[in-house]
Amino acid sequence: MHPDLLRYSCQVALPGFGEASQQLLQNAKVLVVGAGGLGCPSAQYLAASGVGTVGIADFDTVSISNLHRQVLYNPSDVGQLKAEVACERLQKQNPGIKLVPHTAKITSGNVMQVIEGYDIVIDGTDNFDTRYLLNDAGVLAGKPIVYGAIYQYEGQVAVWNVLNKDGTCSPNYRDLFPQVDATQIPNCTEGGVIPTLAGIIGCMQANEVIKYITKAGEVLAGKVLVFDAQTMQSRIIKIGTTTKTNITALQKTADIPTITATEAKKGLANDTIELVDVRTDQERDEFDIGGMHFELDEVEDNLDEFEAGKSYVFYCSSGKRSGEAVKLLQQRLPGVKAYSLEGGLGSWNQD
């Protein structure tokens, strides 16, 4: 047997698979957006199974507080770009495939170009803005998106925008959730997440990709799988065969003004800025760097605490929630200058 095929002999032996399916995988180009809790396991199995080109898009760096579920990284990688570390590791795991890191932040300006070269995209992102952006870009470009999302002990998996036989497309994320107020839904930092759930859902996403490419098994098109890691119960919810939304253009990515820790410290010394902590009470109790404090979902109810003309620097642990707070202020209080602390508290003591 050819040594390349020997590596894949245990999947080529599958009924309904065979060497032709392996060739389909070898020819396939798959983009993983988000090299985090979902992207790590899904990229691992795409690489292992011999997908010919695996792109990994993430602008973020390895952070110690994510290592409990981001199994591709070591503490010695902290601070390095996740997409680059991931590609380097996976290239060693499978030297026979091509790995492409994308380290620019995915925006409405570049998303069409980034996904252009790929056949199918895994959504392993950790925020609603990028989920909607990817979803809409997938619809506009006619590419399926393999969606995965996790929170605490629960996960969701689906495949959006699969071409039906009659020329229509299967439902997408906006059929399920037309819009979301991101300040109302806690992320993994606030609500926590069990690491094994990330592994299970990420592997399920890679599984859907392999089935889509090789046509072995039915993909989760027109369906959403909802899984509970506490009871191990899963349910598959039917959402119809055809999309009912009409996506004609990308929504422009919000431009969130950020400020570095060094600049913020200078502003505090000069009394030109005010800090606003948007973390949970529990996080605040453990440590804070001063300023006002409203949990992210309470900012909206406290808009009268902000004065027009003044400058506020919002902070959280990573910069994600503070970014949401800045977006809210931009919409509701355009006269107030709002900034997000870049990199969150993690950057405070490094500068």
């Binding site: 399920l176 037309p178 819009q179 979301v180 109302q184 959402i239």
Partner: protein, 80 residues
Amino acid sequence: MEITVLAFGIAKDIFGGASVTVALADNATTADLKTSLEEKYPRLKHLASYMVAVNNEYAEDGGVITDRDEVAIIPPVSGG
């Protein structure tokens, strides 16, 4: 009639448990259920959107709910 509604994701926090019971008029629709839940739990409305699944099927607003149906509220999830 009394309907037991299963909660997923942040809906568990909003309802304060894995399920809640709501009283609905006979022949109530999914829209009626949403209105009733959003009155009792205003935070649900703040989510901007969430899915109602009846017997493991996406429920349109006009669909009628009976007390034999299994009803679940599935909000969006952001983590990755």
